[in-house]
């Protein structure tokens, strides 16, 4: 990206900005859809962590951001990667790989020793009970629609550590999605 484009980056419209209100509005205008007895698919946002495919309900995702410069917080819990400034708003950014036993220790992504972030890495800004929070993901895979019949409970053989943050498995064709409870995943 050229320097000009970089400086002007903040001004560009991003399709993944918060448009929940509009969507609600659009959904409400379609009166016939509600009466259809067929099962209503729910939309999930799928993303990858260390090669595994995870998904969270799209309604809890406020937006997806490129990785901005992160500022580390001294003496914070290890899974708190740092804070980011998103259009003036201060957001904590968390690592959930350690929680999911995908990594031994969180990556160094903030501070002067951190390497530049991988091209595909993104921050998911999710809504939580105690305010918005950023979650580091290796790459965003896309939006998947999952009907209730495609969902399965979490298999009992799952590694014990990530048990309570995995709420189930979504199966669509050949793809498997591990469905996460974001509140649980953000706990230290």
């Amino acid at each position: 990206m050229s320097r000009f484009a970089e400086l002007l980056d903040d001004f560009f419209y991003r399709p993944d900005e918060d448009v929940a209100g509009l969507q609600d509005f659009a959904a409400g205008s379609d009166g016939t859809q509600a009466s259809v007895p067929e099962e209503v698919p729910e939309e999930y946002l799928a993303f990858r962590l260390e090669g595994e495919c995870y998904a969270v309900p799209i309604r809890i995702v406020r937006e997806i951001s490129k990785v901005p410069p992160l500022t580390e917080i001294p003496r914070a819990e290890p899974h708190l990667l740092g804070v980011m400034n998103l259009r003036g708003e201060l957001l904590p950014v968390y690592d959930i790989k350690v929680r999911l036993r995908l990594a031994e220790r969180p990556p160094v992504v903030a501070g002067p020793e951190a390497p530049p972030p991988p091209r595909d890495a993104r921050i998911l800004v999710v809504r939580t009970e105690s305010g918005p929070a950023g979650v580091w993901v290796d790459t965003v895979a896309g939006v998947v629609k999952l009907k209730p019949s495609m969902l399965e409970p979490a298999p009992p053989g799952l590694r014990s550590g990530d048990r309570d943050c995995v709420v189930g498995i979504g199966r669509r064709g050949p793809n498997l999605y591990i469905l996460l409870d974001s509140e649980q995943a953000l706990e230290p």
């Binding site: 410069p69 500022t71 003496r75 804070v83 003036g88 929070a133």
Partner: protein, 784 residues
């Protein structure tokens, strides 16, 4: 924010405003306990209770509405004179105010607790039964007042009550008649009211029976004067008002009779009083002429028609007072001629009738009473204030927006700079210069915008002071102390957020002053001090800071006892105590868990007072300092920044990271060679002009990779008497920063108070100096 919570926030804001007004009026009543209550105040409180009832009903706040209803009813009885405002009634009202505040706090949280509901229920029941009946009068004093029944019939119940009250008390009653031009009569009337207010009570304002001319309108104000006639006349100079007395018939009581007699000379003087020179020239002149003729024939001794200068007025009244009763007939004739209210001792002469006669004599007077009502109604729709209430969150949002704009401006500046440096292309250079110029203009405007927004957040500290004044009376009563509470500098302005956060610390300090600082009245007398202790709360602006002083003239702090307590509680070691100066000993009172109070009172002395105060102040980047002298008193000085929204910060670098240190807590900056750092009992200290300065390396404290440097910069920070040197690698200069709180999920982070943006799209953390200092001191103590 959803619509429900927004409505609730609106309700809370509005109700708070009402309660503030109510509290202010109650405070005045409380201060004048034992005196005759100012009816305006009672009426004001009644109206506040009434609005609160309506408002809470509108928002479905049942409990508040019910209590407001009870309070309103009590106040209604009070203002109509069905009850006397005695101490019990006043205490109940104050208690009700407390209950309202508690209810409102719960409403704001969306909670509804059982004990409070019960308390409100009890209180409502109590209010209903409250009050001692007033001394009953066998006869209605109003009947003794010469007043046309028609006029009397338009009085409201309240006005009638006030009139009766004034007659009963023997206040001299006046009819103040004034004509104004239709175009701006509201202003004129308001001015007249303002002039009259300090002189007595305006009981009722009625459209006058006298014509106001084609473009004029006249009013009759029924006025109970608390001053002498001369003062009244002097007070009304320059207004188009004419005075005429309302006569109270000789009552059955001898006292009342004497009163009427006393009023007579007054009557005479007032009747011949001339329109002010400021009155409309054409009409005034004519009237003067007319009156001059009749008055001079009737009473050549009086010179009422001299220009209404001060001397003229005085001589008139002097002349009138001296002759006494003899002048009465004169005044009556003078009155008729001038079209004023006729005054007579003869019973049964209808005032209104007389007036009507006069009216018919005057030409062009077909519209008399009906017309004034409508314009009056129109003007009352106009709002009295020009202020807009804004949620502080919105202002925060705007301030943040300006912060963002400043960053964009910085980017533009960089673009302009790089275009200018790019000298190869002439066009680009020109473009860069142009852009740089425009950016400078933008910068200036942005700064003005920022300043304006900061100003909009400022509120006078008096807001808190008034609330505290109410509290002081209660605490003093409960503690059995006699306190004179002095407030100063209430007009000094501070950021709204700071003012809000300040109320709790100030409350603690004042409670401490009353509970522990001030001696009992007996002890004070024994010590040769006046019985009443003085507790003062003063604010003063000093540059970019505001200093608030909470002082008392009590016993002072016993530093030996402080030392004793600190030792027994294990807060300091014996060796430490040996070395401590008096100031250091005094400052031990700010340690957590410290309290010298022998008895734990309801209000303070639980040992949570001063350390909480200190912490709260630290959050506001404030500094607290204590001064005390045995037997003379204690004073706490709170130094606060004027605003938190934008502060000046020192930008420092440690191990490649950047941090901002609020400049208001930085005392000085030293450059230190590693060999200057000494180790005393394994802790690092610096020798600063012969004093030992505790010292810590920020990199070590924050567990950052330490880099070898050949010299440190030591930022000496201080809060209260505590000093600490914080070693950093680099200094990057000073900058104004907009601090954003870490908020939500990050509240438990130690040593960081917020974050800011320095314009390079990188977030920089702001150090919480108070917390770091605390930490440094805790380490010291543990090692010691």
């Amino acid at each position: 924010m959803n619509p429900g919570s927004k409505a609730l926030a609106e309700f809370v804001a509005e109700a708070t405003e009402i309660l503030d007004a109510l509290g202010k009026d109650l405070l005045v009543l409380d201060e004048r306990r034992g005196q005759e209550a100012d009816p305006d105040l009672v009426n004001g409180i009644f109206r506040a209770a009434h609005s609160l009832k309506g408002l809470s009903g509108l928002f479905g706040q049942e409990r508040i509405s019910r209590l407001a209803h009870g309070t309103e009813e009590l106040l209604d009885r009070l203002r109509l004179g069905k009850l006397r405002l005695d101490d019990t009634a006043l205490d109940s009202l104050i208690e009700a105010l407390d209950a309202f505040q508690a209810l409102l706090a719960e409403a704001a949280r969306g909670a509804e607790s059982e004990p409070l509901t019960r308390r409100v229920e009890e209180m409502t029941a109590r209010l209903a039964q409250l009050g001692s009946p007033p001394a009953s009068a066998e006869e209605d004093p109003l009947d003794r007042l010469e007043l046309d029944p028609q006029v009397r019939s338009v009085f409201t119940e309240y006005e009638e009550h006030r009139l009766r009250e004034n007659v009963r008390r023997g206040v001299s009653l006046w009819r103040v008649r004034a004509a104004f031009d239709l175009s701006d009569f509201d202003k004129g009337l308001a001015e007249l009211n303002a002039r009259l207010k300090p002189l007595g009570e305006v009981i009722s304002t009625l459209p006058s029976a006298r014509p106001g001319g084609a473009h004029g309108i006249a009013f009759d104000l029924i006025f109970g004067a608390q001053t002498t006639t001369e003062q009244l006349e002097a007070g009304l100079q320059g207004t188009p008002a004419e005075l005429s007395p309302l006569v109270v018939q000789p009552a059955t009581h001898a006292a009342a009779q004497a009163l009427v007699r006393a009023a007579e000379p007054v009557t005479a003087a007032a009747l011949t009083r001339v329109d002010s020179p400021a009155a409309p020239a054409k009409k005034g002149g004519k009237k003067k002429g007319g009156r001059a003729a009749s008055a001079s024939t009737a009473a050549p001794a009086q010179q009422p028609l001299l220009p209404a200068s001060t001397e003229g007025g005085e001589s008139t009244s002097d002349g009138a007072v001296a002759p006494g009763d003899a002048l009465v007939p004169v005044s009556a004739s003078g009155l008729q001629a001038s079209g004023g209210t006729p005054v007579t001792y003869l019973p049964g002469t209808g005032v209104a009738q007389r007036v009507r006669t006069v009216v018919t004599e005057a030409p062009g007077t077909s519209t008399v009473v009906a017309s004034p009502v409508r314009p009056d109604g129109d003007t009352s729709l106009r709002s009295l204030t020009q202020t807009v209430r804004v949620d502080i969150g919105k202002l925060d949002g705007l301030i943040n927006m300006v912060g963002e704009l400043l960053l964009i401006k910085a980017n533009l500046q960089r673009l302009a700079e790089s275009a200018r440096q790019d000298g190869a292309v002439a066009l680009s250079k020109l473009f860069g210069q142009e852009l740089a110029r425009e950016t400078r203009g933008l910068e200036r405007k942005l700064e003005a915008l920022q300043e304006g927004l900061l100003e909009a957040r400022m509120v006078p500290v008096g807001q808190v002071f008034d609330k505290l004044a109410r509290l002081v009376r209660r605490i003093a009563r409960e503690a059995g102390k006699e306190i004179e509470f002095v407030i100063g500098g209430g007009e000094v302005e501070l950021d709204k957020l700071i003012v809000e956060e300040l109320s709790d610390p100030l409350m603690h300090l004042i409670r401490n002053a009353i509970d522990h600082g001030v001696e009992s009245p007996e002890a004070r007398l024994a010590a040769g001090k006046p019985r009443r202790a003085v507790v003062a709360l003063r604010a003063e602006q000093k540059g970019n800071h505001v200093v608030i002083e909470v002082s008392d003239d009590g016993a002072g702090i016993d530093e030996q006892r402080v030392r004793e307590v600190a030792l027994t509680r294990g807060l300091i070691t014996f060796a430490q105590a040996q070395e401590m100066s008096r100031r250091e000993l005094l400052n031990l009172i700010f340690l957590p868990g410290f309290s010298t109070a022998r008895s734990v009172s309801e209000l303070s002395g639980r040992g949570v007072g001063l350390d909480v105060v200190k912490n709260n102040l630290g959050n506001l980047s404030g500094i607290i300092d204590v001064w005390s002298e045995r037997g003379k008193g204690t004073a706490f000085h709170l130094t606060l920044p004027v605003t938190l929204a934008i502060i000046r910060a020192l930008v420092v670098g440690v191990s490649g990271r950047t941090y901002a240190v609020p400049l208001n807590s930085v005392l000085e900056i030293l450059s230190v060679q590693p060999r200057d750092i000494r180790t005393v009992e394994r802790r690092e200290v610096l020798d600063l002009r012969g004093q030992t300065l505790p010292f810590m390396r920020l990199a070590r404290m924050f567990a950052l990779p330490e880099r070898p440097v050949n010299r440190y910069f030591v930022v000496v920070v201080g809060l209260a008497q505590e000093r600490l040197g914080i070693a950093v690698d680099e200094l990057h200069g000073q900058q104004d920063i907009v601090t954003k709180p870490l908020g939500g999920r990050l509240q438990s982070i130690r040593g960081i108070s917020g974050a800011t943006d320095l314009g390079n799209r990188r977030t920089v953390l702001v150090l919480d100096v108070a917390a770091l200092l605390e930490e440094g001191m805790a380490l010291e103590r543990r090692r010691a």
